[in-house]
Symmetry: C2
């Protein structure tokens, strides 16, 4: 057996505690797989008093993550502090600069600073592993970085945020409003007290930026992601979509187009009989489409103590086994800066929700505006009034360019009969 691998863990929240528990329960198995044991020799967390009962007897306590990151006793620095900047960033930079391998579950950090940190890791000849940062326990980074490394990916997409998927699934199942379901999700611990990162799509966008980088061999660049959240989805949208044969899901989606790489996070109408429509609750799912393999689907627990800790430990095991790969599949020197396909040039079909005064001639006005911009209508649904004086009108369009759709909506909005800003949900062909 090789010498034990000495690791230091910074951050003992849910995931950190999960990592220690698994090392406690399955340390013997893990040592067999690695032909060496994993020793936690250093720990750093905010509140020392809280961390009892985790079997930390053998580990030195550090009050300062930076001190742990450069401590000569550790070979691997496990960053579970969180946050894209501040201590997490400083500590990871320090660890890499001191030649330590780094494992992190921090998607914001990797999405925003992955290019810099990846290059630093490579220059130092150490690993920077972040399996837990995307889709929790699902080994999607490993699948892309290793299992599919002979493939050219054309599209990767998925349900990457359990909170949003729980909310949308529950709205579909119960017919309740977004606000009511969010409140319950918060009570159940499925949503944060400040849920804006989740419901606003930011969390999904962090994960997508990382996936897209590995899938397309491009520098990770969070600013390339177009982001919309689910806050404006109404119970009625979900009901109407279902009647039309669609479910509404928040997807993160990256694909190659003639205009460059599209990276976008927004609610989508997906066909009810597509597998992704059946992914409900807090489950995550990722679909990768590539030249050799075709379509690969991976589905599993996208969050939670044990699944996330399982991914962190898989990353540590890789290091214990001596596997050090370029963090983003290819060495930094080969990572391209891909052209960003502008959303204005996105081509797709749209679900449009208008709210209009219930008056003869309204539909004619709308139809004329759409025709004027060259948008062709597939389906129109108008029924029962929300309020006595206004009616919701739902349109499904045929395929058109997004800039054209936006112009048509601006034209429609300019009429007095339209009493609320129109809403547009993209219909995604999967």
């Amino acid at each position: 057996m090789t010498e034990n691998l000495k690791i230091g863990i910074a951050g003992l929240g849910t995931v950190g505690a999960g990592v220690l528990k698994i090392l406690g329960v399955s340390g013997d198995l893990i040592a067999q797989c690695c032909a060496r044991a994993i020793d936690v020799v250093g720990i750093c967390a905010r509140d020392r008093a809280r961390e009892r009962g985790l079997g930390l007897a053998g580990a030195a306590w550090f009050d300062d993550a930076i001190a742990l990151a450069k401590d000569p006793t550790i070979e691997v620095f496990i960053e579970l502090i969180g946050g894209s900047d501040g201590v997490a960033l400083d500590a990871v930079r320090t660890a890499l600069a001191h030649g330590k391998h780094v494992v992190t579950a921090n998607k914001a950090l990797i999405a925003l600073h992955g290019a810099e940190l990846g290059a630093l890791a490579e220059a130092q000849g150490v690993a920077l592993n972040f399996e837990a940062a995307v889709a929790g326990g699902i080994p999607i980074i490993k699948a892309l970085r290793e299992g599919l490394s002979a493939n050219r990916v054309s599209r990767v997409y998925g349900i990457l945020n359990g909170t949003c998927n729980y909310i949308l699934s529950d709205m579909e199942e119960t017919g309740r409003s977004f606000d009511a379901v969010l409140k319950q999700a918060q009570e159940l611990g499925y949503a944060e007290s400040d849920p804006s990162f989740d419901i606003g799509g930011i969390d999904t966008a962090h994960k997508l930026a990382i996936l897209a980088s590995i899938a397309f061999g491009a520098q990770v660049d969070f600013s390339h992601v177009h982001i919309e959240g689910i806050e404006y989805i109404s119970a009625n949208d979900i009901i109407v979509a279902r009647e039309l044969g669609y479910a509404i899901k928040l997807l993160g989606l990256a694909c190659r187009t003639d205009q460059g790489v599209e990276q976008r996070v927004h609610p989508c109408l997906v066909k009810s009989d597509d597998a992704i429509a059946a992914v409900n609750g807090v489950v995550n799912a990722v679909v990768v489409e590539s030249d050799q393999l075709g379509r690969l689907v991976m589905e599993g627990a996208g969050a939670g103590e044990s699944p996330t800790a399982s991914a962190v430990i898989a990353d540590i095991i890789d290091i214990a086994r001596g596997l050090v790969l370029p963090p983003f599949l290819r060495p930094s020197e080969f990572l391209r800066s891909e052209a960003v396909a502008p959303m204005a040039r996105h081509e797709g079909a749209y679900y449009i929700r208008l709210t209009a005064i219930d008056r003869p001639g309204v539909m004619a006005v709308i139809a004329e505006d759409l025709a004027h911009e060259g948008v062709s209508i597939d389906t129109i649904i108008q029924r029962g009034a929300e309020r006595a004086d206004s009616v919701p009108i739902i349109l499904l369009t045929h395929q058109c360019r997004e800039s054209v759709m936006v112009k048509a909506l601006a034209r429609i909005s300019s009429h007095d009969v339209i009493v609320k800003p129109p809403r547009m949900i993209r219909i995604e062909q999967l």
Copy 2:
């Protein structure tokens, strides 16, 4: 860059040709990922004349796979000959004995000789990789051996044979008979001219034995697998099952029970709303249930030139990157010989098809026999006669022990009114 990795390929059928094509098309990308190029320096195939147009100019030709396996110019031996014994086995043994890494797509070889070959590879400090042997392009071996290595697996199951799944899906869709669909599958190239390995469940059993070994840390032992094929499934079984809310799928399934590990391949009734019921056509799907991660589903192309070649190349890339793991997750010394749970002690619910003479009192006889053995009936369906003088009777039972079910069926069969051997399909709770 490190020196190029020199490989020799034995067997230039579909998969071998696919490997050469991918190396031709994506060799540059692969070289970037590995920081070294992959060179095909030796080739061996049955018919030299056939192998034109594959860009083999730089490779030496071997008429004998054994000679290639021990040739000093190669570092990795790619076995794509097929067959569990004979040349394939001899060549792999030779390659390992000569300190070459081995990559193979040969499930029969690994299922039957994996324990010996794995131990030999470990003793020699070389890799024995077989991602392509199970579920084609789906990186399930990597997921189990690396991504989930911190987990204790409780159950692994899946649709592992595209031919059977195509036949059952098509029978469900079209209502045609097994024989008619098999014939068409052969014409379309989805089934071999001798389809017995596929439809008899042998192919699935090879793959399951490999999965179970890695999942449970046990010596791979093909003789531990209980195997039934799909030949006796009738169009009527599928129609009735659907009416009752089930689909019929050929599953390979391994799980821990109090009696030991169950490894079994047979047609199953699965709930129509379960994700696995929606996996149709030649697609494969694998589900892994484990303590930390919960449920992980992987779905994709389980066969075909490009997906299988993609998996072979992923295995080569691992070697090029210096990754050498124990072939069955843990070193051979830690692989246990797990107790085999006898099928007689399997507990489950059953779908029973009886064919009886249409005469008063028949149902009373059947019900009495079942009651005598303590089998409790959930549903009975009897309708329209197959022939004028006999009727099919379908029973769904509640949970019982298989030995009891078998005894009850023997008792029922002994009556003159039962005109065909009863058929039993297990109902699987997923």
